[in-house]
C-alpha cells in the first residue's frame, strides 16, 4: 500500500499497477457512473480520492456495486462481471441484461476502464482475442462497453512481457472496437488519443519522453504548452 501510494516501486521505472490505478482514479469526477473491467482495472476503486462518490456498474446486472467481501463470505449470486462476489452500496439496484446493456450502449455510463492487448493511434482497441488458432473465443461485454460508454480509459503496461509496444500504429489483433479509446494510462505515461494520434498528457515520475516514444509503435505528440494564466 505504501508503494502504491507513492505510485512507484524501487525496482521498476514508472508507475506500478497500483500507481496507474491511483493516477486513473484522480481523473474520475464525483458522481460518475463507472464500469471497471475485470482484473487490473478493478484496482481503481481503491484509490478514489476522499470526498468523491462513484457509482460502479457491473454489466451482469448491478448498479451501485461495492467491494468484495472477505474470502468465503458473501453471496454466490451477488457477483461482478468477473464472477467474483461483491457487495452493494446504498442506492444500489438490480436489473436484467437488456437493461444493463441499454445503460452501456445508450451512452449512460460516463466511463469504462479496460485492459488492452493493443491500442492504435486512431483509437482502435484490441482486448478480447489474440486470434490464436487454439484459443476459445470469448468476448463478453467488451464490445458493448467500447461501443457505448462515453469515455474509454485503457490501463495497461506500456509494452508486452516480450517488450513489444502495445500502443501501435494499427492493431494486428482482432478489434474490440474502432476509434473507441479516449485515453491510455500505462506504467510510463498518460497518453490521449486525439484526431492527430497519440498525444502525451503526463509522464510517470522519472520517465523521459524519449524513453516512452522508443517503446511506442506510433508517434506521440508532445503536450500543447499551456499559455497565459
Amino acid at each position: 500500500m505504501s508503494a502504491a501510494s507513492t505510485g512507484r516501486t524501487e525496482s521498476t521505472l514508472g508507475w506500478t499497477r497500483e500507481g496507474i490505478a491511483e493516477r486513473v482514479a484522480q481523473d474520475i469526477p464525483n458522481g460518475s457512473y463507472v464500469n471497471l473491467g475485470i482484473g487490473i482495472p478493478e484496482l481503481v476503486a481503491r484509490y478514489v480520492p476522499a470526498g468523491r462518490t462513484l457509482v460502479y456498474h457491473t454489466e451482469n446486472g448491478l448498479l451501485g456495486m461495492g467491494p468484495s467481501p472477505a474470502a468465503g463470505q458473501g453471496d454466490p449470486e451477488l457477483i461482478n462481471a468477473g464472477k467474483r462476489r461483491v457487495s452493494m452500496m446504498p442506492g444500489a439496484a438490480f436489473f436484467d441484461q437488456a437493461t444493463s446493456f441499454a445503460m452501456i450502449r445508450g451512452g449512460h455510463l460516463d466511463l469504462s476502464v479496460l485492459g488492452a492487448l493493443q491500442v492504435a493511434a486512431n483509437g482502435d482497441l484490441a482486448n478480447w482475442s489474440t486470434g490464436a488458432d487454439d484459443a476459445i473465443p470469448a468476448v463478453g461485454g467488451a464490445m458493448d462497453l467500447v461501443a457505448g460508454v462515453k469515455r474509454v480509459f485503457v490501463m495497461t503496461t506500456h509494452v508486452t512481457k516480450e517488450g513489444a509496444p502495445k500502443l501501435v500504429e494499427r492493431c494486428t489483433y482482432p478489434l474490440t472496437g474502432r476509434g473507441v479509446v479516449t485515453r491510455v494510462y500505462s506504467d510510463l505515461a498518460v497518453i490521449d488519443v486525439t484526431p492527430k494520434g497519440f498525444k502525451l498528457v503526463e509522464l510517470a515520475p522519472g520517465v523521459a519522453f524519449d524513453f516512452v516514444q522508443e517503446r511506442t509503435g506510433a508517434p506521440i505528440l508532445r503536450p500543447t504548452p499551456r499559455t497565459g494564466a
Binding site: 458522481g31 457509482v55 446504498p90 442506492g91 444500489a92 439496484a93 445503460m103
Partner: protein, 236 residues
C-alpha cells in the same frame, strides 16, 4: 455524495431552450407530471417538440402547454381523448404538426433511443397508412417496417418515490412511458411525491435506475388532471 435533488420544479426546467424536444410521461392523466409541465409553461420555452402518448384534457397540464402556443410538433399515438379540445383545435387550424405513431412503436422507439439501438424492424403498421414512405422488409415472409430510435433533450416524468441517487418507483398504471423516457433524454427530470435517501429503496424493486435520472423534484401532493378539470381550473 450524490444528491440529484433540486429545490423546485421551476429550477428543474430552467434550462429548457426554445426548439427543444421534450418527452412527457403519462397515459391519460396517469403519470402526467403536471407540476413540471406548469413550470415549463412559466419558464416560457417555445417551438417545442413534445413526445407523449396523449395531448392532455381540459385547460391544464399538457393541454395548457399546447394552448400557450409553445409546441411546434407533437409525436404521439392518441392525440384525441374525451375532454380534449385544445389539440384538436390547434391541429385543425394548422398550428401544430403531428407525427402519429402506434403506441407500441412509440414505446419501442423511445426505448431504442435510450438503449443505443439506432433502428428496428417491427411488424406493427405494415400495410397501413402509418407505414407510408417508410422502408419495409420481409422477415420470414412477413413485412416489417423500419422504425428509428427517438431521443430528446429533456424528459419530464412523475414518480411515486425517488431517492437522492435518482432511483424511482412509480404508482400503478402511472408507470407507462416513464421508464423508457427516462433513458432517452439528455436531461431527465423526475417529480416525486416522496423523496428518500439512497439506500431506502429495495434494490430488487427499483424500476428506473438512478443512472437515467438527472434531477429530482419533491412535489408532495401532485395535482390530477381530472380533479383540476372538475374544478374548472386552467393554467396559467
Amino acid at each position: 455524495m450524490i444528491d440529484k435533488r433540486v429545490a423546485s420544479a421551476r429550477e428543474a426546467v430552467a434550462d429548457v431552450r426554445d426548439g427543444a424536444t421534450v418527452m412527457i410521461g403519462g397515459f391519460g392523466e396517469a403519470g402526467s407530471p403536471i407540476e413540471l409541465i406548469h413550470a415549463l409553461i412559466d419558464q416560457g420555452a417555445k417551438g417545442l417538440t413534445v413526445i407523449s402518448n396523449n395531448t392532455g384534457t381540459g385547460l391544464v397540464g399538457l393541454a395548457a402547454l399546447l394552448r400557450a402556443g409553445r409546441v411546434r410538433k407533437v409525436i404521439c399515438s392518441f392525440p384525441r381523448t374525451a375532454g380534449s379540445t385544445v389539440f384538436p383545435d390547434l391541429y385543425r387550424a394548422g398550428k401544430v404538426e403531428l407525427e402519429l405513431v402506434p403506441q407500441g412503436t412509440l414505446a419501442e422507439r423511445i426505448r431504442a433511443g435510450g438503449a443505443g439501438i439506432a433502428a428496428f424492424y417491427t411488424p406493427t403498421a405494415a400495410g397501413t397508412p402509418l407505414a407510408d414512405g417508410k422502408e419495409t422488409r420481409a422477415f420470414d415472409g412477413r413485412e416489417h417496417v423500419l422504425e428509428h430510435g427517438l431521443r430528446a433533450d429533456f424528459t419530464l416524468i412523475k414518480g411515486r418515490v425517488a431517492d437522492t441517487h435518482g432511483n424511482v418507483l412509480f404508482h400503478r398504471t402511472a408507470r407507462n412511458f416513464a421508464p423508457m423516457m427516462a433513458t432517452a433524454a439528455a436531461v431527465t427530470i423526475v417529480q416525486a411525491a416522496e423523496v428518500v435517501q439512497a439506500g431506502t429503496l429495495d434494490p430488487e424493486c427499483v424500476v428506473t435506475q438512478g443512472i437515467f435520472v438527472d434531477r429530482v423534484v419533491h412535489v408532495p401532493s401532485p395535482a390530477l388532471e381530472s380533479a383540476l378539470n372538475e374544478a374548472g381550473a386552467s393554467y396559467p
